[in-house]
């Protein structure tokens, strides 16, 4: 675990309840999703990346789409958000079944045969685990950034193509 991930885990561990850990820690996980998208998107000066990334409705899904989050990790992250949303709306709501499901997805994302566990699921540990693995992936991406985007072609035949299409459709 790198320094940031260890500090994150220590910070949320100091909070008194599982729900408090999720509520305080999830915004940092969401910020990490946006950092991953920034690091994974090819450099392109014409791309208004900050606006697009900042306004993306669900950066987690973009990270999943980019292959930086496994299916099980994606489900676990989704379910931690769901727990936080449910408890925020109704503090006494039963959420143990959601945490069970998140824990299952996280376990099997590591090993499909890890089907039973001796200990109870722990929302804080699940969150700190996701933060840790995603921090590692962010570090890897920053060490080897993606290649530049495909150059936009401005060859002369492109002008011919556009003019001919206009001529056809103006007939």
């Amino acid at each position: 675990m790198n320094g940031n991930a260890a500090a994150f885990a220590a910070t949320i561990a100091a909070l008194p309840t599982e729900n408090a850990r999720l509520h305080a820690g999830l915004p940092e996980l969401h910020a990490l999703f946006r950092d991953l998208v920034r690091a994974a998107a090819p450099p392109n000066p014409q791309f208004e990346r900050e606006r697009i990334i900042a306004q993306a409705p669900n950066p987690r899904e973009l990270v999943f789409l980019l292959g930086l989050l496994s299916e099980g990790e994606n489900e676990a992250a989704l379910l931690l958000d769901l727990i936080d949303a449910v408890v925020s709306a109704e503090p006494d709501a039963v959420v143990a079944h959601i945490l069970d499901e998140a824990w299952y997805y996280l376990r099997t994302s590591i090993d499909a045969n890890w089907q039973l566990d001796d200990g109870a699921p722990c929302a804080g540990a699940a969150l700190a685990y996701l933060f840790s693995v995603l921090t590692e992936r962010l570090d890897t991406l920053r060490r080897s950034p993606p290649p530049a985007a495909l150059a936009v072609s401005i060859e002369p035949q492109r002008a011919t193509l556009l003019r001919s299409l206009r001529d056809k459709m103006s007939e």
């Binding site: 769901l82 949303a85 709501a93 079944h97 045969n113 089907q115």
Partner: protein, 257 residues
Amino acid sequence: MPTAFFGHGSPLNTIATNRYSRAWRDYAATLPVPRAILVVSAHWYVPGTRISAAHQPRTIHDFNANFPPRLFDFRYPARGDRTLVERVVDLARPIRVERDETTWGIDHGAYSILAHAFTAAAIPVVALSIDRSKPAAYHYELATRLAPLRDEGVFIFGSGNVVHNLELAERTADAEPYDWAQRFDDSVRELLAARDHESLVNYHRLGPDARLSVPTPEHYLPLLYTIALQRGSERVSTIVDGFDFRAGSMLSISIAA
């Protein structure tokens, strides 16, 4: 009107002819012709209780690209039924059921059965989602509110699998089920026969076999929507049973007088 739970198995059952699809077809032939169909499928598992309200619900191909093109070409062109939608919204109160005209339609949990049981797609179909944020008891309670629909000619069915563990599935034809899968399937049958709905709702207390058989709840919960509709003198009968891939129970049951 009887009510049923179907173990739907692989999406390929939509276009297959096998002992499961034949049993679903033969069972439907014994039913009075429904006025409409209300389906609770494992594959509409989202936060919130929603009901498909489109006039012409879409056929949803909710599986990965490894399945054959013929399955992606499949369409189930049944109409929706706004009258049934409004009736469900009313019956469920104070539970809020959100009308959904755009995001969902008829998924493979529904049409893998419907394609064989109601081939002509002439009966309107409405889907009810499973609220992912709610515990099992909520689903049972919601379903009890829908019981009057059975007297109004609506065929209500759940579609899932009593045992469903994809991570441990083995794609070997005719392999024997895992011991834990068979034991859990047997336990569920015994609880159904004993009408022990409390144990079926609290399935997570049934030990390690349950934890392996129901690692995530979405394929099991449709069973609760079916049993919650059982009336005093009604009995449970088996439509078909068996296992696919060692870890997928194909048990289908009917509840009728």
